[in-house]
């Protein structure tokens, strides 16, 4: 018989671990069943046809495009912002921290109304932009803004935790050895924080992909311009249930592929870190 950790033999412990296992099985089943139902439903011709329909392809392409732009902006702006939040001390830091967290707890529909009131045609800033000939509502840019608003937090927060968790001595040692600040950041800090950045990026991306309330309120819904996957699912639901199911399966497959890719990259990074 294999050796077990001693804790496993205690009666209470066995009960507790039994409970934990059933809890996990329950959770997995609860998540699995609806997803399975989705896939099973698509085993009919109507659903396959719907996947190849223009509305589905337009929506998938738009979702891919807008979330890619959103993530690019989040990387460029979010990474230095997170670094600052993790390392620097400045007046009002707590307020800024809270501000960054706020969109995560705000219902997206409220975010949509807020965006509309700020950037809409009659909005606080939108009114002035309109004079300059810039109109944001009902454009693809508005979709990106809605995604950015709700998703940025998830990357910035995890990145900040990552930066804060790095042993400063390692960086200092490199500096003593004569490495420049930029070299320290790219050669030491970034590789160490990389898994946290990828994890944050995946959560943020997922949030951006799922964005619905803010988009439909601020950007509206129009095929090929503002109708992302979640909006297309909602829009086709009333007209063609098969098509709505097909779209849901497509978005499921898309998300699955991205998560697998992210796992692959973080896995590789951790392996490398392990070998060093």
């Amino acid at each position: 018989m294999k050796r077990r950790r001693p804790g496993w033999f205690g009666r209470g412990d066995r009960l507790a671990s039994g409970l934990a296992v059933s809890a996990l099985a329950l959770l997995a089943g609860f998540i699995c069943l609806p997803l399975l139902s989705l896939v099973i439903w698509t085993v009919n011709e109507g659903a396959w046809r719907a996947m190849a329909s223009q509305i589905a392809l337009d929506a998938l392409l738009l979702s891919a495009k807008t979330t890619a732009v959103t993530m690019a902006i989040i990387f460029i702006v979010g990474t230095p912002a997170a670094f600052l939040l993790a390392r620097a001390q400045f007046p009002g830091k707590r307020l800024v921290n809270t501000l960054v967290d706020l969109p995560a707890v705000l219902p997206p529909s409220a975010a949509g109304i807020a965006l509309l009131l700020a950037f809409g045609r009659m909005g606080l800033l939108g009114e002035h932009l309109r004079v300059l000939g810039i109109e944001l509502s009902f454009t693809t840019a508005a979709v990106v803004m809605a995604e950015l608003f709700v998703a940025a937090h998830f990357y910035v927060r995890q990145a900040a935790v990552g930066f804060a968790g790095i042993d400063r001595d390692v960086e200092e040692a490199a500096k003593v050895d004569g490495a420049s600040r930029v070299a320290v950041f790219t050669k030491i800090t970034l590789p160490l924080v990389y898994p946290a950045l990828v994890a944050g990026a995946v959560t943020a991306w997922a949030r951006a992909l799922g964005e619905f309330g803010g988009t439909i309120i601020f950007a509206g819904s129009f095929q090929g311009v503002t109708q992302t996957m979640p909006l297309a699912i909602y829009g086709t639901l009333e007209r063609d249930f098969d098509a709505a199911v097909a779209l849901s399966v497509m978005v499921l497959g898309f998300s699955f592929a991205v998560i697998l890719a992210a796992r692959f990259f973080t896995g590789r990074a951790e392996e490398r870190a392990g070998q060093d």
Binding site: L116, R121, M122, F138, G220, S221, Y234, E238, R239
Partner: protein
């Protein structure tokens, strides 16, 4: 409890009727659910626990009837599509035919929503009057498809869009000050027809029939008339 599924254009009239019904049937709580008729139909098809269905067009009700979801429907109101534009800024739309020429952003309800179908009919009629291409030029101005007619109306009331198709009854107290109505010429317009029916699976068939009765009664019809519906005469 009585659950009434009603087209979103019926919101104000049915909320008033709700008060009346609850007064007449003490202890009964009426719970109305307003959405685009197509969304409501989809929910009923999926087995939503509704007792009454009031649709903004006959097509949705016919589908429900064919699928055996509702009892025999009755027409209870008619409504006239109009164009609304923001009160502050006409966007160059003073009359219906300006729609094709104006530099305007339009919104329209989702394709399957009755008002959007009526709008298509009106535009087809307009093609005959103002020449081929009129409808397409108007369609090209649509920047967003809204979930239902009230959502479309609000876009215009907020000034986010320059024009949309709504029913006359949608120009409610709430938005009257913020929009202007542009009538559709009589010869081009269509008349929206509202049927109502009890749901076959209803758990409260008697109450459901009582609701239909109230809507068709003299006082029910008067409420609808107050909200700019055209009554059909009472039973």
């Amino acid at each position: 409890m009585l659950t009434v599924f009603a087209a979103s254009s019926l919101t104000d009239a049915f909320v008033e009727l709700e008060g009346m019904f609850e007064e007449q049937n003490t202890g009964i709580d009426v719970s109305p659910s307003f959405a685009g008729s197509s969304e409501l139909l989809a929910q009923i098809q999926q087995g939503a626990p509704a007792d009454v269905f009031a649709s903004a067009d006959e097509a949705k009700m016919d589908t429900a009837l064919e699928e055996g979801l509702v009892a025999e429907p009755e027409i209870f109101a008619r409504n006239r599509p109009v164009i609304i534009v923001p009160a502050a800024d006409l966007g160059g739309i003073a009359e219906f035919r300006d729609l094709a020429e104006a530099d305007a952003q339009m919104v329209l309800a989702e394709e399957a929503v009755p008002i959007a179908r009526y709008a298509e009919e009106v535009l087809d009629n307009a093609n005959g009057e103002y020449g081929e291409g009129f409808a397409q030029r108007v369609r090209d101005k649509v920047v967003s498809r809204e979930a239902n007619v009230r959502a479309a109306a609000n876009r215009v009331a907020l000034g986010e869009a320059d024009a949309t198709f709504v029913y006359k009854s949608d120009v409610t107290q709430d938005i009257r000050g913020r929009v202007q109505v542009v009538e559709i010429p009589e010869g081009l317009n269509v008349l929206a027809t509202y049927p109502i029916a009890t749901i076959e699976e209803s758990q409260n068939p008697e109450l459901a029939r009582a609701w239909v009765g109230l809507v068709l009664s003299e006082e029910g019809q008067r409420v609808l008339e107050n909200y700019n519906f055209e009554p059909v005469g009472y039973s």
